[in-house]
Amino acid sequence: MSTQKPRFRVFSFALQGLLYIFLYAPIFVMAAFSFNNSKSRSVWTGFTLKWYGELFRDRAILEALVVTLSVAIIASLAATIIGTAAALGIHRMRKKTRDVVMTVNNIPVVNPDILTGVSFMLLFVAITTFLRTLGADISLGYWSLLLAHITFNIPYIILSVMPKLRQMNKHTLEAALDLGATPFQGFRKVILPEIMPGVVSGMMIAFTMSIDDFVISYFTSGSSVQTLSVAVYAMTRKRINPEINALSTIMFVSVMLLLVIINVIQAKDKNKEKKF
């Protein structure tokens, strides 16, 4: 493809450029207003770093950040373990059963968030009402938020692990077992290394989904706990606090840095491979 006509190149870069402008304009606007001296979101009144300072003193936002990150980490780890185990089981099923299970697995992925959120809320409310009649003092909170996140992450793990299991040569496991490996050793030394890329990318997807989720958290977190997106939503109904712009700018810059670092490491690895 290196011998493209120059006209095509110009056209292609123009299209991509327009797309990038469209995608990034709001992000740069947001970043710019995190340095704006007044709380206005359309008038520029001078440069300041005060929102960054206030951000680190704002208890509510920092707590929401901790909730968001801890839920994302715990939920993606738990979902990875459950999802990988489920994928192993589903892989061993007969084709008909497997197709049915995979269709059921796909429903939550395509299902609109709002429906998932509402159903979780109704389920958790039913559970708390039942427990209350038994005398427990319980209401929606961190536990329901976490359970909802673990549950909605599992299908993504299964979806990214299944193809790796399908590509795997099943005779390697048989060989290992014939040579005296226990089933657990077989899993750890044969299956796990083969499916690892799928497991890791599934976990990354799950983590991203958790961080980015608003709708499901909104319905399941109750009134005592807030994730960042729920906090932002509550603010947008009044007037947004520029601290939030500052926080997203920090997050955006860290994501960018992380990507650059990953790319540099990958480039170095490639260079090393060439040397040997």
Binding site: F8, F214, S229, T236
Partner: protein, 220 residues
Amino acid sequence: MFAASFRLAFYATAICLLISYPIAYVVSRETPQVQSVFMVLLMVPMWINFLLRTYAWMSILENNGLLNKLLVLLGIGKVSIINTEAAVALGMVYNYLPFMLLPILTVLQKLDRSLLEASSDLGANGVRTFLRVVFPLSLPGVLSGVTMVFVPSVSTFVISKLLGGGKTLLLGDLIEMQFLGNAYNPYIGSAVSIVMMLIVLVCMFVMNKFGDGGEETSMF
């Protein structure tokens, strides 16, 4: 309300498709390096909370916002977009565009080049090759993109609230109002949810009918 939801979701899906297809097509013919940069740049905005990105659109589209300032500067004059259906549709396009681009790009990347050569060897010109070979082969990607944009567009309630100013009520808004909003009535909310779920299931069923044939054969 059903009509407004479906109309806006339909517009958003159509616009996404019209933007995505040409871009996916040219990017699929770029070098692998350009393609991987493209993928990364497409994914990065998704790491920023979508509420904030939508909120940033509010400051761009406002009557005294950045877009209007730019237009006045260029001598075109003001337009009022915020709190209209157009703003809601724009918000939908902005938020769900990657969901259309990625599946189309993936099918186009996998497209067998020799088919294009065969087509031109047999005397077809560029347009004919595109209509008869490229487009039909990319249909599975287009269909999955259409579902991935249409379903969240029909069910959103945040975008319509922020950019539509609460004037355009969508199905999502209706459901949200019944459970956490002012019009508390979980029974109506559940009923609307079930109807919406049925629509989504029908969509999924249709997708499976179309999609499976292509995917199974390409796998073996």
